[in-house]
Structure formats: C-alpha cells, structure tokens
Amino acid sequence: MATAPQLLEPRQRSKPGDLAVVLLARDSYEPLILEQSTGAVDGYAEGAMLNTRFGSFPHSTLLDIPWGSQVRASAVDTGSRGRKRRREDSGDDASTPALEDTEGTATPTSAPAKKAVSASSGFIHILRPSPELWTYSLPHRTQVVYTPDYSYILNRIRARPGTRIIEAGAGSGSFTHASVRAVYNGAPKSEDDRKGKVFSFEFNEARFRKMEEEVDSHCLRDFVSIKHRDVYNEGFLVDGKSPMASAVFLDLPAPWKAIRHLSRRRPQDMEQDASDDSKWVSALDPKKTAMICTFSPCIEQVIQTVSDLRKLGWVEVDMVEVSNRRLVSQRDRIGSYLPKEKGANPNPADVTEALSKLREVNQKTREFTRIKANGREGGQDDQMDVDGSNSEREPNANNKLDESSTEKSWMQGRLVHRPEAELKSHTSYLVFATLPPEWSEEDEAAAYAKWPCGNEAKVVGSLDKAARKQEKRDALHSKKKRKQDQADGEAQ
C-alpha cells in the first residue's frame, strides 16, 4: 500500500529521503534531498554534504531534527576538493574556506574578526517543503506559474480533494506540485479506486524526463501521472483510458489546439473513422461539470482561445489578470542629526530642524569670517578647533537623541512600506470556462418522473407583486380570524 507522500504529510522532523528546502537568506531557497550516509561521500568524511556560501552542512546535521531548525555550519575537511586549510576547533561556526564566495567570509586571522564571521554567516534554516517552497526553489526549465496565479486558478477551477485534474504542459512542475496538494485525498486502495489525481503532459523530452525524476523522488507517483505527449495532436487519454477529469489547466502556447480534445463527444473537425465512432473516449468525467483555465501571456492568444471555447460549447467564459505585489517594510529615518548610518536620510526631519540647520550655517559663516579677519591679524591655528567645538550641533527638541536611541536605529523613524524594487507587473491572462455535463431529454424525463411538479406548497425567494399581495391577504385573513376567535372566546 502506498504511503502518504512527504509533501502531503506534515511531520515534525526530517528523515532520510525527505525533500528539504534550505533557507539560505531572505527569499533565497535551495531544495535538497536528505541522504543518510554510512561512509565518506565525494571525499567528505562526514558523508553527503551541502555546500553553501554560508558554510558546509553535512546532511547528518540536517537529519532527524525539527523542521524550521536553525543549523550551524560545520567545520569540514574539504580534502582534495579545496584549499588545504583546516581548522581544528570544529565547535566553531566556520565557513568552509573552499566555498568562500566573493562577498563571503573574511579570512579568520584574528579572533574578533573570526567571531564576527562565523556568527553572521555560519548557519541556515531548514524548512519542511510545501508547493510554495518548491515553486520558489525549483530548478527552472521554463517559465513557471507562481503562487499568486496558481492559488487563484485552483480556487476558480474547483480543484479540491478528490478532483481529477489535467495539466499541460508540465514545464518545470510548479503548477503540478500545487495541484497535487489541492486534489490529494489519500492513496488509492486498488486499481479502480478513483482518487484525486493530476494527469500531466509534457512534450519536450528532456523536461518530461526531469519531471518523471522529480515525481519519483518526491514520492508522488500514485498521485501524478506524467506522460510524454504532444497534446495538440494526441489529446489527453492515458493508455487509451479517460482520466475522468473535471478540472483542466493549460499552460501552452496554443491552448485552442488542445481544447477540442476536451469535448464530451467527438468534435466535428476530428477526422471521423466511421468504424470506431463509438470508441471515441472523452477525457472528461461525463457526470461532472468541467472547469478549465488557460494561461497565456498575450491578448491574441486569449481572443483565439475564448472564441474557440465558445464555439465548443463552453459557457461562463471569463478572463482575469492577477496582479500581485510584494511589499517591503522599512523605517524611514529622516533627520539631519541622526547618526550617519546606512539607510538614514540626512534631510531635515521638519521645518524646525531645517531652521536650526540654517542657523548653524549662518553661525559658522560668521565665525569663519571672524577667524579669517583674526587670521589676517595673525590668528592662531588652535582657534579653529575651539570654534569647531563651539559649533557642535544642537538637535531640536523633536529630534533629541539620547545615548540608547542611537543603538536602536531599528525603532527610529516612521514605519512605511513600498513595492519591491523589481515588480512582476504581468504574468499571463487567465481564461476560465465551464462545460456542464450533458443532459438529455431522457435524463430530464427520468428526473421529472422522480420529482413530479404541481404540488408546490409554498413560495420561497423574492416574491413578485401578485404573490406578495396574496400572502398579505392570507396573513390579514388569519389575523382577523384569530381576533374573531379571541373575541368569540371572550364573549363566551
């Protein structure tokens, strides 16, 4: 029996064979399959090794620890792999000399410098993988669909536990991972136990192979079927059988060439072999409504797709564009008297500060003139220094900085936010459409027989004038009657 894939089973600790996502620095992720080593690997005595610009990390230090853990770099003998420098004090955080990069670690010559280096650069965090982390760390082969788009798409096409979803092309597998999480509802117990599943197609051979590998190493084989296929010409059946899909996502250059394969019946334009007419199999579940999304960067693709969807009987055709912004939070430190640190803006904070600044300049000018005059009369050098100290700044009351606040620059200034430096202002247009199941006259007759009409007892929903009048009349009538009854009762 198949077990739950790691991606869909939130455990607390890492174990061999797991996919881990290493957080190197802010927004910098790296995927890694954790290995248990019994001996040296690649010349590392510690076994399998993760080398980063923040140090070397034997897999053994990443195994059987809680996800989310901060992990110190290890001092590692790089053996023949790097410069033959080695430190004995393995207890220290140390970046592996062989892996120093340009912005990297200062050479640990003196003790204080060494400490500073190891503390700031000698660790990583290890995260439990999720489709989001995979999306932002996967090795790119193509453009990929990111979280703002796929979250919205999966929501709109109603991909939920149990849904069978078709996807083409697989590309780098970003959408694949997000959709398998959405449709997963347990492992099938037998061949014909129909559970939620992703049916993915990719026509580029190399990408197909890579996808196969990843599906395998992420233990998703039971939940993702990946086929090497040109879907324009060959459609979406798997080994001649229908995936019984009710959700479809097409991220292809020409989605309109693929959608005719997603009909309920053989489309008219497909060559008809009279002999096997009955054998045409739809990739869609005949009982369920199908929901599709196509993903195209250009408006021309959209227009073509929309027109073809409408011709093929898809309804509720809708197009949206998702714009997502990431916002950076920062403290705007503005002031002429702030300590000269990076990030501080030396502009006066307010008009008062501007005035005091100007007055200082005035004063300096006056003093300078005076000194100059004095100098001509044979001034002394030390006069300057004295004057210099006299013109020491006088921060205004609003901006007085005591000793402690100089240290806490992270509490100073106004907290503001702004979009990230680089904006993703357009990804693609999202076309949505719906294909209801077929409903024949016979179906309707059967349903009508089961649910006959004509015996409606009451009216629900918004009433029209006539119905409302009638209801009022009835209410009035019963009220009258009640009053009447009451009166009768009292009379007795």
């Binding site: 809680p66 989310g68 700031s120 309804v315 197009m319 950076v328 403290r331 620059s409 004509g454 409606e456």
Partner: protein
C-alpha cells in the same frame, strides 16, 4: 449523496441575468420565485446537474406551474459569437440584426438595474406614441436626457419599425442591451461553494461581515498556510497527530470554510458520489427528519460513553475565538449548525474535524466555567431513577466537559502544522500567543484588509531587531533557554521574539476582470473598491540554543539583506 446534482434541501446559488446571485435552500415541492423574473417549482431543478442555464417558460394552459427549458450552450454563446460574423461583414447586416428579431422571438426591453420590463415587442399594449416615427429632434432630445432616456429611445425605435439610420447611431453596447432583454427569464444553477459564497458576500450581501476578503486573498492564505487534506491513518506510529491547523477567524466562518474545503471536510460526504448510498433513501430521511433534540433515542442505537471523544486526530481545524462561542454563521450554507454542540448522526464532517476554544480557555483555562466544574460521577443505578430531563442534562454536561477538556489540552500541547488568521485583532498579540503552539517549520498566513497592522508585525522581525536581539539581548531574556523564549511576553523594544519567524513578508493580490469580445476586448470598467487585502507570510523557526547569542558583533547583514 452525489454532489454533481442538485440535492433536495441543499443550498444553491441561482445566477440571474443581472449577474446577481440568489442563494436559496432547495426544498422539494416549493415554488421558487425570482420576483420579476418569474417563478418555477423547485422539483424542476432537483436531481439535475449544476451549471445548466434554464429559461422559465409560460405556464401551459392545463398546468399550474411554469416549466423550464434548458438553454443550449450554442444559444448562450450566440451573442458573443454572432459579433464575430457581424464584425467580419459590413454594417448593413448589423443593422439587420438590430431590428429584426428572428422568427417568433420576443423582444423585451428591460431596465437592467430594476429588472423592470420597459417595453415588449408583442403581446402587450404598446404606447401609441412609440408606433409613430420619431423626428430627429425627438431623438436628440432623448439623447440629451442621458442613459435611461437612451433605453427609452431604443425601445421607441425598436417598436416604430422605422428610422434605421438613427438606430445605427447607437453603439454596439446598446445593441447588447437590446439583445439581453430576451434573456430576462434565464437563470443558471450553481453549487454553493466557498468561492461563490465569498463572491456573493463581498459583492451582493455584506462585505464587512467577511472583512472584505476577496477570493484572491483567501486562496493565498490557504496556500501559504499549506492547508490540505491529510490521511486519517499513517502506516507507522510516528507523528500520530498531523495536519492540525490553528485558525483565528473573524470572517463569520468564511476563512474556516475555505480551509475546510481545501481539507475535504466542508461538504458532506464528498467521496460518497460513487457509493450506492442513494439507493437507501429511507435511512437518510429518517436521520434527516429527526427534529427532536431530546435524549429520547431509539434503544437499539447505543449512545456512546459521554467521555468518548468524537474528534479526529488528524486533518483538523482548531478555531480560536473571542466570544464564548465562535461566530461561524456562514457554515450553515454547508448544512453545518455551529451552534448545536451536541448533534445527532449522521454527523457533518466538521463535527469531528473542527474544534473551537476561546482565548480565555486557551490562556487561562482555570477561569473557564465549564472546565472549573467537572461533572460529578453518578452511579448508573442512581441515574436510572432520575427523570429524563435531568438525566439528559447530566449527560450533556459530561460530554461538554470532556470535549472542552480535550480541546483545551490538545491545543495547549501545540504542535500545529500551520496558522491561518483573518481577524481585526492586533496580529502581534495573536502571534505572541500562537507562535509557541506551532510546530517549528509551520507556515503562517495572516489576512488583513489594510496593510498597517501587518507592516507593524513585519517590523517586529526586522533585520536590525533580530541582530540586536542576538548580540545584545534584553535583560528579561538573559539566561533563558530557547523554550522559555518561545513564550517571550514582549516588551516595548521586542513585541515578539524576533528570531521565531522566518522570511516575514507582505503581499497583495488583485484579480482584474476583462471583457473579451471580438474587437472589444478590454478590462471591465468598474470593480468593487474598498479594502485591497494584504497577506502576511512566514515560517515558525526554531533558533539554535545558546552559543550563537554569545558570539560578538552581528554587524554585517549580508546574509540577510532586506
């Protein structure tokens, strides 16, 4: 029960020609009235597939109800596709289409806003003036009066059978208007699910009740909190409880519903579609029609032990609320009554997979009235002598106590797989008390209609603050271990332990709708304003113990540019 067909007594959404939704419970043998749009028997849509568009027919002479006609897709799309041919050919054909309805077709002019029929091309008495040819002056006059006058004009033109030239002066948009009116009696039956409910609440009903949370925000929260179905059993014994998500929901249950939908626990029997349960309707009716909430139960079904817990260990949601009871009123649209603590079978999946507790129960359980008063043990012999009512109360009390005890204890034990929040409460205070409950590595996603609260939250984890915490820890933190610092109570400088959250970020998403028609493709002109909606994301971290704090300066932030 198959979710592919309209089931009796389930909630559905009817989409009207005005694009508005009508949310209704489909009770068999009732008449569903769509007001001006007409009415029809509920039985005509029960057991039919969703997403069909119907047209309400005129009553037949011998019937007391209106029948429905399924409008084929080709007819629904005719307009959008017809434009293609109209565009391809010359203006002349276009004019033709404007004035000549196809055989037997009725042209009705309807005011879109009110649904009021302005005028009809046949069957009703038409204002005599409309039959007369309009003069150019009249037309100019009407044009000046604005849009609504335009409709009047079109109606008059339409019905006057003349003045073709003037008609074409009107734009294609007006032509659309003309064509839509014959769809007046159409509606589409849609399954009521979370995205639709959210759209309806936001656009038609009361956006403030759901904190103006759009579908795009809701989808982001679900993904970033990594909420998904978790299998009930694992093969190995390790990590027996898994897939428990902690939720703070002040959207009336919308957030909860969306997470439950992702976990497959929102809709009743979502997997049962293939099972032959339908063949056994009596059982269902019996269970469903049970209205009495008393203890008088058929003897054959043994009532489980009061202290037996109905809760699942995995694939669960735990809701934290600020009133004594959670406000999850929207769950009723999924046939879950959150106000009934003691329902009878068949149970809604949420009954076993959703738990709730108040902040007081979480933080000061000793002050909770239920917990403070554990029910007394009563010997069965004694119990047997009690009156039914008293006995029922006793059982109810014991059950409530056992369940509350379990919920409070298991929640306080922590280990949650993720946190999802949509609440007007200060997120800093929420995280202060929930961070210790999250398993390290657990994702965090917080929705806020405005950015300011989230911005202050992110600032708690700024590079500068984190660096300072490590190099120069506050006095109160000195000598404390990692675990103690997980429960850091916060001070002015460090509202939260800044090392507990990784990659704190804020984003916002907006789905912009477009109109796609040949030659007229553009973003739609208006959209709902109000809250933009922001999402905070991050992961719960487990910092290393000791040493790293003891080390010298942490000045260079190259590892952590921000």
């Amino acid at each position: 029960m198959s979710r592919d067909r309209v089931q009796p007594n389930c909630w559905v959404a009817l989409k009207l020609p005005s694009e508005d939704f009508k949310i209704l419970e489909i009770v068999p043998n009732t008449t569903i009235s769509l007001g001006k749009y007409g009415s029809f028997p509920s039985n005509l849509i029960i057991d039919r597939p969703y997403h069909l568009t119907y047209e309400i027919q005129d009553k037949r002479d011998d019937e007391n109800f209106a029948r429905l006609r399924v409008v084929p897709a080709a007819e629904l799309n005719a307009d959008a596709l017809a434009d293609t041919s109209a565009d391809a050919e010359e203006g002349e054909t276009e004019e033709e289409t404007i004035i000549k309805p196809s055989d037997g077709e009725e042209l009705t002019l309807v005011d879109e806003a009110s649904g009021q029929v302005v005028i009809r091309s046949k069957g009703e008495a038409i204002d005599e003036t409309a039959r007369q040819t309009l003069t150019i002056q009249e037309i100019e006059e009407l044009k000046k009066k604005g849009t609504s006058a335009g409709k009047e004009l079109i109606a008059k033109l339409l019905l006057s059978h003349t003045a073709i030239e003037e008609k074409t002066a009107y734009s294609l948009a007006k032509y659309k208007l003309l064509k839509t009116k014959k769809y007046i009696r159409r509606f589409t039956v849609l399954p009521l699910d979370v995205p639709l409910l959210a759209q309806w609440m936001l656009e038609d009903k009361d956006a403030s009740k759901i904190m103006e949370m759009r579908n795009e925000s809701m989808a982001l929260v679900g993904c970033w909190a990594d909420v998904h179905y978790v299998a009930p059993h694992l093969n190995d014994a390790e990590d027996e409880s898994g897939g428990r998500w902690l939720v703070v929901d002040d959207t009336g249950g919308l957030l909860t519903a969306s997470l439950a939908e992702r976990m497959g626990i929102l809709h009743e029997n979502p997997d049962e579609a293939e099972k032959p349960q339908e063949e056994n309707p009596e059982v269902q009716i019996e269970a469903g029609s049970e209205e009495t909430k008393t203890e008088a139960r058929p003897a054959k079904r043994r009532r489980p032990d009061d202290l037996e817990l109905p809760f699942a260990k995995r694939n669960t949601l735990t809701i934290l609320h600020h009133n004594t009871q959670p406000n999850l009123f929207l769950l009723r649209y999924f046939n879950y009554d959150s106000s009934d603590p003691d329902p009878h079978p068949p149970y809604h999946p949420l009954f076993s997979n959703m738990m709730s507790l108040s902040w007081l129960q979480l933080l000061n359980p000793e002050e909770d009235i239920t917990l403070a008063n554990p029910p007394e043990e009563v010997a069965p012999e004694v119990l047997a002598t009690w009156k039914t009512n008293r006995r029922g109360n006793h059982h109810r009390k014991r059950r409530r106590w056992a369940r509350t005890r379990h919920i409070v204890d298991s929640t306080r034990a922590g280990g949650f797989s993720g946190l999802a929040v949509a609440s007007p409460m200060d997120p800093v205070s929420i995280l202060r008390h929930t961070l210790p409950l999250l398993a390290p590595g657990a994702p965090i996603a917080i929705y806020s209609p405005s950015i300011e609260p989230l911005n202050s939250l992110v600032d708690c984890f700024s590079v500068g603050r984190r660096g300072a915490w490590i190099t120069d820890p506050p006095k109160e933190a000195e000598g404390k271990g990692i675990e103690e610092l997980e429960r850091w109570e916060g001070n002015a400088e460090y509202p939260l332990n800044p090392t507990l959250v990784l990659n704190a970020s804020i984003q916002t998403s907006r789905a912009k709708r477009w109109q796609v028609l040949p030659g007229r493709t553009h973003p739609v002109m208006t959209a709902k304003g109000g809250a933009e909606g922001y999402i905070f994301t991050g992961w719960r971290a487990l910092p290393v113990e000791g040493k790293i704090e003891a080390r010298g300066k942490f000045k260079r932030k190259k590892a952590d540019p921000k």
